[in-house]
Each structure stands twice: as C-alpha cells, then as structure tokens.
Amino acid sequence: MSKFSDLTRLPDARGHFGPYGGRFVSETLSFALEDLEKTYLSLRDDPDFQAEFDYDLAHYVGRPSPLYHAERWSKQLGGAQVWLKREDLNHTGAHKVNNTIGQALLAKKSGKPRVIAETGAGQHGVATATVAARLGLECEVYMGAEDVERQKLNVYRMRLLGANVIPVESGTRTLKDAMNEALRDWVTNVDNTFYIIGTVAGPHPYPMLVRDFNAVVGREARWQSVEEFGRLPDALIACVGGGSNAMGLFYPFVEDDEVVMYGVEAGGDGVASGRHAAPLASNAPRGVLHGTRTYLMSDEGGQVSDTHSISAGLDYPGVGPEHALWKDVGRVNYVAADDDAVLEAFRELTHVEGIMPALESAHALAYAKVLAPTMRPDQHIVVNLSGRGDKDILTVAKLDGIDI
C-alpha cells in the first residue's frame, strides 16, 4: 500500500489539490470553465473518445516514443544507467502535442471554430497551430514580445502552419504576459473560442486535463522500463516550468513509493542570485495567478516577480498546483539547475549521444549529471527528454558569439 494513494484522487470536486489549485477567475469565464469541465468529465471515460485520442497519438504523433538507453553518456557519468524518454521524437518535436491533440478533440466536440493559445518557447504554440491546421480551426497564438525575438524559428513555423502569432508587449513581455493576453482574448470571445492552455496550470479543470493527456508519457515509461530492464526505474527526472512534461512522466508512478522523483526548475543565474524561475526550489510564497493558487514568485506587495531563464519555456513565475502539493507532501524533490549547468548538459548530450535536447529538457539532463554518479551502475534513471533542441540553435550560437 502506497503512502501516496490519496494523491491519485485529486483534484477534488472544486479543482483543489489540497490548499492549491481552484478556479480564481473573473465571473465571465466561470461559465466557460464549468462547461469545459462538464464536457471533459463526460468524455474522459468514454471509450470512443479515448480510442480517437489513442489513434491520433499512435498515427499522427508517432507514439509510443522510445525509451533510449544513453549507454555512452551513462558510462561517462560513472554511476546509474540513464534512459531517455524520447518525447523529442514526437511530431512537432516535444511532449506538448500530447495535450494539444487532446484539447483539440475537446474543441471539436464543443463545436468551437477558433482556438487560442499562449506560448513561451513556442513549442506549445507550434503544437496548437499544428492540430488547428489539421482540424481546420482558426488559430491565434499569444507570445511575449521578448520570446518572439528569441524564438524566431518557431514563430515562423507557426505562421507557416496558418496561425496568427500576436506579440505581447505588456508587462515583462514573456510567458506570463502571453497568458494574461490569452485570458483577455478568451473572456472577450468566449462564445466561439476554445483556449488550449499548454501546461498543468491555469484554472480548474486545466491542470487536471493537461495532466491526463500527458500521462501517456509515464504509462509508456512504466511498461518500457519493465521491458528494458525488468523493473520500475529507481529515479525519474524531468524539468519543471509550469510542469506538464514532469506531470506526464511522474503521475503514473505516484503510488510507486520506491521510485524517487526529481523536478528540475530553471535556476537562471542561480537560486541565490534571485534571478531565476524556480518557485518551488526557492520556496517562494503561496499566491494566486492565472486562476490557480500555487507557489508564486512575488514581491512583498504581492506583485508578480520578473523571472529569468535561458529557456523561454521555463520562464514562468508560478508552477502547476499539483506540483505545489507534491512538494509539500514530499512526493517529489524539486531542485534547480542554473543556466551554465544547462548549457553544459546541452553540449554534452549532443556530443556524446548525438541527441540535441531542448534547453528546457537540458535542465533535467543537468540534474542527471549530478544524480547518476551518486548511484550504482545497476540502478536506473529515466529522464524525460521533453523536446528537441533545433529551436535553440540560434540562442546557443549567439552565446558562442556566432551570428547565423
């Protein structure tokens, strides 16, 4: 009997994960969220809906994604065997598509002709634009103006897919401001628009449904582990911004007490410097943003803090509410990897294994470099390689002083 069994019964009927989560939105959106919750709950256990979802994951996304033994890198690290869950091989190049496929099916069922999304690194925007193209839905993607600048390739990719990318100039011009603007759009166009949120944050039911759509990652990792090395892994590692890829990998293992889990947040210049995006690892105060209560980086006046990370996808001051609870109950260890360690891991995996990770995923790899040497060679770590690094080539080249 797992001491964490209670965790699988959350959220409660009001969308709360212990003291976190909930539905903190202005009244105009309450109706749309109630509606979405009803739609999702009616379809969640519907075999036809699940079959449609599974079919798309298999034939459009290319699942299951492989569990790859990074043998050479493991040897170099000199400890546990490191296995990479290859979400980078999914169609569109990241785990994000698992969720957008699911939400697009919900959009289709609810008959709304227009979808909107927020995006940081652009992976969720690309994944949304992709499913919108396939279903013939109008698509607008909100993206912080700073992120539009540092993720030019993904911006153009979205435009090629037929989406309208709207740069957001307000606030800090990053992911959180993109989400504000998407919420403003939704409140204005709620009759004909479905908001595809890209992470396990936002108001109920989003944290629940984004988790459920991404949990395919962990379900596959379970049977693949048994198939490859005969048992469950000793440890799981995933990066955490809002936390959807970590949630997807971790959730199906939550009751396996012997599986130790590490969520790796963006340490930026180092947690001690204050310039980071690590609300859990830095033990930020609790607060409410974008419809949910969670750990939230804010100043003494309650204003949301500026964050800093080399990776646009993790540059967010809050975190999914379920992660907040998992920190409090001790189910997952939340740590941070700073920008320098992330770049080192990015280069190392590229050189040693010929796999170029997204800078977001390189946070998880940076922690694998710390953890693996402390373990025995007969132990196994599964790292979620949540996305591929092609989108980050310009960022890394710039740091190398090369202008492409």
């Binding site: 919420l183 009759d191 006046g301």
Partner: protein, 267 residues
C-alpha cells in the same frame, strides 16, 4: 449600517441612480490620489471604487493595464492605499470606498491583516476580481466580521444557478459586467442589460450596478434607465493618462467627465 447600504437607501428614497467612479490608486503618482477622490465626490460620486494596482490585471483592458503600470513605477502597495483612504476620511466621512483588485496582493499581506487594516482605514467594501463566490470562503467571513461588504461580479454568461450563489454571498451591491470582455470595451445595450438584470431582481434586493463600457453622459443615462447604478472606470482613467504629465489638471478633467454623467443620470 455600512456606508454603502446607507448610501443606496438614501438614493432609493430620492429615486436616484448611483454613480460609481473607479480610479487606480497611485496613478499617475501616489500623492495625487486623495485629491482625485475628493474631485470625484464634488462631481457627484456616490461610491468610489479604488483600484489596487497589480502586475497582471487579467480582466482589464489596455487603459487600466497602463494605469497599473504607472502606479507600480512608484511601488504603490496596499499599505499606501490604506494611507490614502485614511487621509480621504479626514475630510469625507460619508462617501463609501470600495477596494477593487486581484487576490494576490491581498493574500500576500495576509487575509486577516488586510481586513483589519482596511476597516481601520475606513474602507467599506472589497471586490476581488479573480475571486468568485466558490473561492470566497477564505476571505468572506473575515470581511463580514469587520463589517466590510463582499462585492461580486455577475456576467452575461452567468447561469441562473451561479447567479443564485452569487446573490447569496453578495453584499453592498452587485456589479453586473455589461459585456463579454475586458474593461473599457464597447458601450452596452440597455435592452440587453435589462434582460439580464430582470432575473437577478427575482433573486436579490441588492442594488444592481452596471459597469464596463460606460464612457459618457449618454451611455450613463441609457444604462441608468434599467440599473440602480452605473460604474465608470476606463473613461476616467483615460483622462488621467492624457494628463499624466500635468497632474494638477486632472481633478478638473475628472470632474468634467463625471459631472456630465451625474447630470445625465439625474435628468
């Protein structure tokens, strides 16, 4: 009896509509806010909604977003708002003041501390935009125990079941959001508003006030035909923005806009 209830009782006796202006505290700088509040009262304000600046005002349009940014340049916090209300109360013991904003700044100073300080400063009601009644159990009783009214929003999308919940929790007045969208949007249609207010009248005796998109005397009078009060924010905050470099000119500009609405509403 709370100042808000007193004011609405008096208006009802006179057969008049309430005029409720909103400004963001600390915009364009904190030293001007109290003078603006007095100007609003001179122009006929019945209740003042004082906005708490927030870094992420998700329900607000560009006009109030920029007001928040101007105020936050001066690091305006709730402690400053309490000082402003205290100073306002030295010369005005009657006009009700409602704090309107988002939950995070309130949570950060602590719910009890917030309620204690608000009451002590002379605040009468609180409207937290991102706290619907389902989530209000954390703050509602704390406010009630101190005689502070919890004011809630009702939207065109609110179902009858939800409206009943909101009416059961609401105090002071109900704030009917006249359109789907953010603050500062299009002018509402009075017939449409009337259609939405009718079922609310069956559920509550609370005064029904209408906001979002009211910009001048004509739109105020139009909505005033069907509502117990009108709420005006962006139209005033725009005047503040236009005169941000010459704050001394702002009180007269606010009085001109609000005065026109008062006349139209009382005509």
């Amino acid at each position: 009896m709370n100042r808000i209830d007193q004011r609405f009782a008096a208006l009802k006796a006179q057969g008049r509509r309430a005029l409720i202006p909103y400004i963001t505290a600390g915009d364009p700088a904190p030293q001007y806010t109290v003078a603006f509040m007095h100007a609003l009262v001179r122009a006929g304000a019945d209740v003042i909604e004082l906005g708490v600046p927030f870094s992420d005002p998700m329900a607000d349009g560009p006009v109030i977003q920029k007001a928040c940014e101007r105020a936050l340049k001066h690091q305006v916090r709730l402690s400053h708002l309490f000082e402003m209300v205290r100073e306002f109360r030295q010369d005005d013991a009657e006009t009700p003041v409602v704090l309107m904003g988002y939950l995070n700044p309130v949570e950060r100073i602590g719910l009890e501390a917030f309620a204690d300080q608000a009451r002590e400063a002379g605040v009468d009601g609180v409207l937290i935009v991102d706290m619907p009644p389902e989530e209000a159990d954390i703050l509602g009783p704390t406010l009630k125990a101190r005689g502070l009214a919890s004011i809630f929003l009702v939207a065109p999308t609110t179902s009858r079941a939800r409206a009943a919940t909101i009416c059961a929790h609401g105090e002071g007045y109900l704030y009917y959001v006249s359109l789907k969208g953010v603050t500062g949007g299009a002018t509402p249609d009075a017939d449409d508003v009337a259609e939405h207010l009718a079922p609310l009248r069956e559920l509550t005796d609370l005064p029904l006030c209408v906001g979002f998109g009211i910009r001048d005397g004509a739109s105020a009078a139009e909505v005033g035909r069907v509502a117990d009060g009108v709420i005006v924010g962006s139209a005033l905050v725009s005047r503040i923005a236009e005169n941000a470099d010459d704050p001394e000119a702002i009180p007269a500009a606010l009085e001109a806009v609000l005065g026109e609405m008062r006349q139209a509403l009382d005509a």
